[in-house]
């Protein structure tokens, strides 16, 4: 693609994409015209990636699959083997050898001038790195759950808003037809007034017992991997399996909150609020390095009377996925393009012109690219992601304390429970601090 022809093609392509994928009264992306205070990005978004493990690489491939939409130029990881693999992928895509590599995100953010960065890291790093990237005015595709604690989440939301960047959460189910359809039917009252929501997530985990201290693999910067988390010796667990350890994750519950709870909120109009009361219990492994709850079951009550039960799927009639139960019936959605309803006729309902049309995206990564170009919000914006994970994190606090938690979703505070309130944040190990916005 030559430089002269490409701009015209880009405008055409963007317009087609917008027409095809976003149901909003909009024709030409403002960024292309240099409006809205934004500079038109180059033909292909210039991107970098922080965190190039399994999810980071999966996202990178999804971006590269978009064909000429992005060009990665820099990658960052604390594991040199991951880093080398990411560079190979990028160089292969670029047919060059000039992908820049970093072992420290601070250097990456200081040196790189990018349109966007794709970030996929263990949750305990999200607070610092999402906020720092936003402070550098980089647009971010960030993995869910967006935070390990509510306090981290608040900081990230503020950083993204104050810096006016485009944010896309890796809650890709929003860009799948069945989830969109189910949510749109629910939000338009096709099961009547929604009274009750059930969210089924995986139970889990496995068990590696209590491994001894091991040598850190030479390719891994363990100190940097731990970052703000408490220092512990390496015991053979870092990539991927961090999700079974409470220092870094809340387990399957928080891992999946950004999916099925996010979808539940979407279809029930709860995207910008939170529950007012949370109670429930978890079942924890009796021993072992992995200490996240294996099973969990909690109930969230909302000010508008809706109740949402979140539990491991084995406890629920519909199993995995999201069920919206209204006074006229129910709709269930799950992965594998599944959608069902108490009455199949519900699924054939047409959404009228004057009803609510939920944001439509057919490709989660393309949607991000489009929005970076247009300056429009992406389909999974930051506050919505924060509200989804908040449900999981408040459930975690209810289970940890064994208490019913009263939550003020406007002030974003726990009411009248100083001990539980302490669990809204995890102190950072020196010298790390949560960036100020």
């Amino acid at each position: 693609m030559t430089k002269n022809s490409s701009r015209r093609e880009f405008v055409k392509r963007s317009a087609a994409l917008v027409a095809g994928s976003i149901v909003l009264p909009q024709i030409i992306p403002s960024s292309v015209l240099g409006m809205g205070g934004r500079t038109a990005p180059s033909d292909r978004l210039v991107m970098g990636a922080i965190g190039t493990g399994s999810q980071g690489m999966s996202n990178m491939r999804d971006f590269l699959d978009l064909k000429d939409a992005v060009r990665f130029v820099a990658v960052c990881d604390v594991d040199s083997v991951h880093l080398a693999g990411a560079k190979r992928t990028v160089d292969g895509a670029n047919k060059s050898n000039d992908c820049r590599t970093y072992g420290d995100f601070r250097e990456f953010l200081a040196k790189e001038k990018l349109d966007a960065v794709s970030i996929a890291l263990p949750d305990h790093w999200h607070g610092i790195i999402y906020s720092e990237a936003a402070n550098r005015k980089m647009n971010v595709y960030g993995e869910k759950p967006i935070c390990r604690t509510i306090n981290d989440g608040k900081t990230i939301v503020k950083a993204v808003k104050d810096n006016n960047i485009i944010w896309q959460t890796g809650s890709w189910q929003r860009s799948e037809a069945n989830f969109h359809r189910g949510a749109e039917l629910a939000v338009n009252g096709r099961v009547g007034k929604i009274k009750y929501i059930e969210v089924g997530l995986p139970d889990g985990g496995n068990n590696i017992g209590t491994p001894p201290v091991m040598d850190v693999p030479p390719q891994l910067n363990w100190e940097m991997w731990l970052g703000p988390a408490l220092k512990v010796p390496y015991r053979g667990v870092s990539h991927w399996d961090w999700r079974w350890i409470l220092d870094y994750s809340g387990g399957q519950l928080t891992d999946w909150a950004g999916h099925h709870i996010d979808i539940a909120n979407w279809g029930a109009g709860l995207e910008h609020t939170g529950p007012s009361e949370i109670s429930g219990s978890g079942i924890y492994p009796a021993e072992g390095l992995y200490n996240v709850p294996v099973e969990y079951d909690f109930l969230c009550k909302y000010a508008n009377g809706i109740e949402m039960r979140v539990a491991n799927a084995a406890r629920l009639k519909h199993g995995m996925g999201t069920v919206w139960q209204g006074d006229l019936g129910w709709i269930h959605v799950d992965r594998g393009n599944r959608i069902s309803a108490s009455d199949p006729a519900i699924l054939n309902e047409v959404i009228g012109e004057n009803e609510i049309h939920l944001y439509k995206s057919e490709n989660h990564w393309q949607n991000f690219v489009d929005c970076v170009r247009s300056g429009k919000p992406a389909i999974a914006p930051v506050e919505v992601a924060y509200r989804a994970i908040s449900v999981g994190l408040l459930g975690e606090i209810a289970m940890t304390t064994g208490q019913t938690i009263k939550w003020d979703p406007d002030k974003e505070e726990i009411i009248g429970n100083p001990a539980a309130s302490k669990l809204l944040s995890r102190p950072y190990r020196k010298p790390w601090t949560l960036p100020t916005v």
Binding site: T210, L230, I283, S425
Partner: protein, 401 residues
């Protein structure tokens, strides 16, 4: 004066009422054994220990004559007991004893059928109605249907075939089928059981029987029917309640099947339910989950006081059971300031102990960071200057401030 007496009488009456409401304990329990194709010499004392450990039961073991012996000498007085546990698979009892047992159950006596006890007495109709399902002993379609779960549905299958089999011994996943039954309430939906025989193809009258939990007999894992086979059952017989566990094959020392905390706790809960129809025992912290088998090699639940002391000797690589126990009790004491302070004081004692390990103190500092009060702060302040504990101390103090 008269009024005083009236008050006293009323008070005495109230006291009587309250006393009768008190949780009953010390249920007299009879464990019958003496013949079995399984190692009853090991299992029966362990069953006694498991039941007595709860404080709810006072058990005694009664042995029948050995195989071929004179069964006319075996005449237990069932009326002395609230619960009869059958760890027996052998010669028929005498008719009088059979009748006495049927009367005992019909009139509301509790029964636990343990593992191979469901092999016993294939020809005794009433006994088979009490076990619901049985195996071996030439059982076949005349004994009753197979009962199992298939694709999430309970199946009663009258097809012809043998009763009772099991594949290679292995760990297997037990799946709860009745989350709201007193015995299974609060238990995980799925939990991994210690290596055991996975009884399969059990068949019997299956009258008034509820299947509480099943296990999938996966043929790929050492032979299996590819059915979800019943593992825990309840049966109503007359006024009596029967709890039937198909698990718990005894090796020396009990082995993983009997040491499995899931076996132990479901037996304790099932036994209480058989006597009272309710379960008052809380689900302990060490009930296994889908993530792994949990064994109790000494058949005991660690107390929170012991657990806190034990944390003082924690080192990386050792069991974290004591920490899980502490966390469980912190949750259980939610809202009980005095109870939590009592735990906090014990935790501080370990923090201040020069014998306690650094790793143990780290674990305690993490817990104190959110549940601690001003009581623990001086002790934590002191640890701020200890090089290997300063991060955890700072973590705790930042939250506590």
């Amino acid at each position: 004066m008269k009024r005083k007496y009236i008050i006293l009488i009323v008070l005495a009456g109230l006291f009587g009422i309250f006393s009768s409401c008190k949780k009953e304990t010390g249920f007299n329990t009879l464990i019958i054994t003496g013949q079995n194709n399984h190692n009853w010499q090991v299992s029966s004392p362990l069953l006694k220990q498991i039941l007595d450990e709860t404080g709810l039961f006072t058990s005694e073991i009664m042995k029948t004559p050995a195989t071929g012996g004179d069964m006319n000498t075996f005449n237990p007085d069932f009326s002395k007991y609230k619960l009869v546990v059958i760890d027996y698979n052998g010669d028929s009892w005498n008719e009088k004893t059979n009748k006495a047992f049927v009367d005992y159950v019909s009139n509301g006596g509790g029964v636990v059928i343990y593992h191979a006890a469901n092999n016993s007495f294939p020809a005794w109709k009433e006994y088979n109605e009490m076990t619901g399902l049985g195996g071996w002993g030439d059982r076949n379609e005349k004994s009753g249907p197979y009962v199992y779960y298939k694709a999430g549905q309970l199946v009663t299958d009258t097809s012809a075939g043998i009763g009772g089999t099991h594949g290679k011994r292995r760990e297997f996943m037990v799946v709860s089928r009745k989350a709201d039954h007193p015995i299974t309430k609060g238990l995980p939906a799925r939990w991994l059981h210690g290596t055991d025989e996975l009884y399969s193809l059990l068949r019997g009258p299956a009258l008034n029987m509820e299947v509480l939990a099943t296990a999938f007999a996966d043929s790929a894992k050492g032979g299996g029917t590819m059915r979800d086979e019943p593992m825990l059952m309840t049966i109503a017989y007359g006024k009596g309640r029967i709890f039937h566990t198909a698990m718990g094959h005894a090796d020396e020392g009990g082995g993983p099947a009997m040491q499995c905390a899931g076996f132990i706790i479901t037996l304790q809960r099932g036994a209480e339910w058989a006597v009272t129809g309710n379960v008052t025992q809380p689900v302990p912290f060490d009930f296994p989950t889908a993530a792994g088998v949990v064994l109790r090699p000494d058949f005991k639940e660690v107390t929170v006081d012991e657990a806190i002391k034990n944390i003082g000797s924690y080192e990386i690589g050792k069991s974290t059971k004591n920490l899980t126990c502490l966390q469980y009790h912190i949750r259980k004491l939610a809202g009980d300031q005095a109870g939590l302070l009592n735990l906090e004081k014990q935790m501080v004692t370990v923090l201040e102990s020069s014998d306690a390990t650094t790793e143990g103190k780290k674990l305690l500092l993490r817990e104190l960071s959110w549940m601690g009060t001003s009581f623990c702060q001086p002790a934590i302040n002191k640890l701020s200057s200890v090089e290997e504990l300063k991060d955890e101390a700072a973590f705790a103090l930042e939250r506590l401030k």
